[in-house]
Symmetry: C2
DNA sequence: TTTTCTGCTGGAACCGGTTCCAGTAACAGC
DNA sequence: GCTGTTACTGGAACCGGTTCCAGCAGAAAA
């Protein structure tokens, strides 16, 4: 293919001058710049990023590690990351990390270890201490979404506070039998989301003077998961709660579908609230606390760019590293929640 | 960082020997190989893929262009692509291409034009002639999923035949008023999927001697899209069909949700069939034709690797290029379809 | 014994850019 | 007039690998 030497020859200048003309760094007279650009266009020259990054150390490439692609939150984040990075001229290399496995190790030991990235964005991955260390040792900026990760600037919502808000919404409507359906805290894959939302729920209940006995039902973090638990929790009319706080909109929708199948009126007989702001929420008239994954993605990219722009002054970095950007969630009230129509006992 | 020269020095050999020892190409005695490997491990040497690809021309990186990330089919394909590529030691660089736009042009003109990829996989993107040309001019293997793309090996299901199968299933059950709810063929973004499924539906109807008047309702290709159209199509009891073939499982589920809200029994009063094999299908007892996106992804990767392994003999390539791998779909019957319980007229 | 082959190694060129440094010309200030 | 600065350009080194080529043993073939 055509290299910059060909461009230089055609334009009648030295390689160095051609490089300056095309990259825009250093002195080049306007006349020669135009000549070089014309020559480049004429032979269809495209720069080799490999060669450039070999000497500059910059790759214009960002690595993204993410545990799921198909789940709503993650795919939204991913889309926004890709858009934001592309707009800044960065490529995005994607690593879909499942739970601890040989592949996972190979990503950390082999793929991430090579000097291919200017920075890394970690989305909602529960990282082991060793993995965090390894990432830090890369010496490249690292931004987290949904953290926190040790010594890493992380973008996240406050899961505890959000869960508390959701619970308080139900309690404020006058519900007594409030139940939480969410991910199992034992399943560490989902970061601390499960346990944090659970603890937000518990603390809101305790603050309201409610018992926290037998009011948490773990389920798979998906619509079928919510559906299944919904069927069993709502199955017995005598023990049926009047309100359910679901850890995600998908779970909430699964619960609503189960309720409808059982002939339970929502919200007359059962109030349901979720967290997410899922596009299906409107269709199921689901009251929810919206988090905004795309905004989180955009913020992560701009945080990364800020770190990249910062001159590599190791001391300043260590000092300022490890802070947290907490994003607000907002309550969107639809008609899946109301006061308890037929309060029992 | 440590370079291969450091390894060579430590092992007491030349750079060339160290390179051979670590890459496994060319003659190296077992004794020196071990010494080099030990030295590399000692100083934590990791090869720079940039430097290597600069001279070999191989980047061990594959570009993937895809129009959506959050839609089920696409996210499944993406996950399987990532896994398969990773297993083969390839990085995956992701481009999420929306409809025609400036960003889209920049991907083709700037990002893809650089020599960063060994190959490109295009997933369900409707490419313009100019874009196909540009990809071909890269001189790198190109594999499509959900094509066909001109002169490109493509993995796909037969959308026409699959739609025909779905329609025939409903007709075979004795349904007379069969309706198709699917994507608008005018919306070109989704490749030819919309129009192909529609034409498969039409041809099955015609073959069965049915009229094709007013039996297609375009909708957004999503669950809310199906829900909305479902409400309006099913709203009037006098014109209500007894069976609906939805172009995707998400649309089908939207229709089912609408039917349930309207108090219409499925399948007693309404049969619904979809296409996909979506994980929600089971929960809604949806009869569907499963396509297997993960298998499509895996096949695309192995096809790409085959092309990469092939010695670059331009003639042989041109000759063999442009064939199609058609994957079967399989009918999974659940309880959203049955014979018409109360046939009208 | 001489020649050929095989296994192994090192030196050097090379991939395609960027950047440092030296050098020149023009122009300002003294 | 001389010196200092500024704008611009070219030569060469360099990034970190891979690969070609030559050289050199020792073993096998003639």
């Amino acid at each position: 293919m055509s290299a910059i030497a060909d461009v230089a020859r055609l334009a009648g200048v030295a390689k160095a001058t051609a490089s300056r003309a095309l990259s825009g760094r250093g002195y080049v007279s306007e006349a020669t710049r135009l000549r070089v650009v014309a020559a480049a266009r004429e032979i269809g020259y495209v720069a080799s990023p490999n060669a450039a990054s070999l000497v500059t150390g910059r790759t214009k490439n960002v690595g993204v590690i993410i545990p799921f692609i198909s789940r709503w939150f993650f795919s939204e984040v991913l889309e926004s990351l890709e858009q934001a990075l592309l707009a800044e001229g960065y490529d995005m290399t994607l690593y879909n990390l499942p739970a601890a496995s040989a592949e996972r190790d190979s990503v950390f030991e082999y793929f991430l270890a090579r000097k291919r990235f200017d920075g890394v964005i970690s989305v909602g991955v529960a990282l082991s201490e060793a993995e965090v260390d390894r990432l830090h040792r890369l010496g490249r900026p690292l931004i987290g979404i949904g953290g926190p990760i040790r010594d890493v600037h992380t973008i996240a919502i406050d899961d505890v506070a959000t869960a508390r808000l959701a619970t308080e919404h139900l309690l404020g409507l006058g519900h007594v039998d409030v139940v939480h359906v969410g991910g199992d805290p034992i399943d560490e894959m989902d970061f601390r989301v499960h346990s944090q939302r659970l603890s937000g729920f518990y603390s809101a209940m305790r603050d309201a003077g409610r018992s926290t006995d037998r009011c948490f039902y773990p389920c798979e973090f998906s619509m079928p998961g919510g559906y299944e638990v919904g069927l069993s929790v709502l199955g017995d009319p005598r023990t049926r709660p009047t309100a359910i706080f679901a850890a995600s909109d998908e779970i909430a929708i699964g619960v609503i579908v189960a309720a409808r199948e059982l002939g339970i009126q929502v919200p007359a007989e059962l109030s349901v609230i979720g967290i997410d702001g899922h596009p299906y929420a409107d269709m199921f008239r689901l009251t929810t606390l919206e988090q905004h994954p795309r905004r989180q993605g955009r913020l992560a990219v701009s945080a990364l760019l800020t770190e990249l722009a910062r001159p590599t002054d190791a001391d300043a970095r260590l000092e300022e590293d490890g802070y947290l950007t907490v994003l607000p969630t907002n309550l969107v009230i639809r008609s899946s929640t109301s006061g308890p129509h037929r309060p029992r006992s």
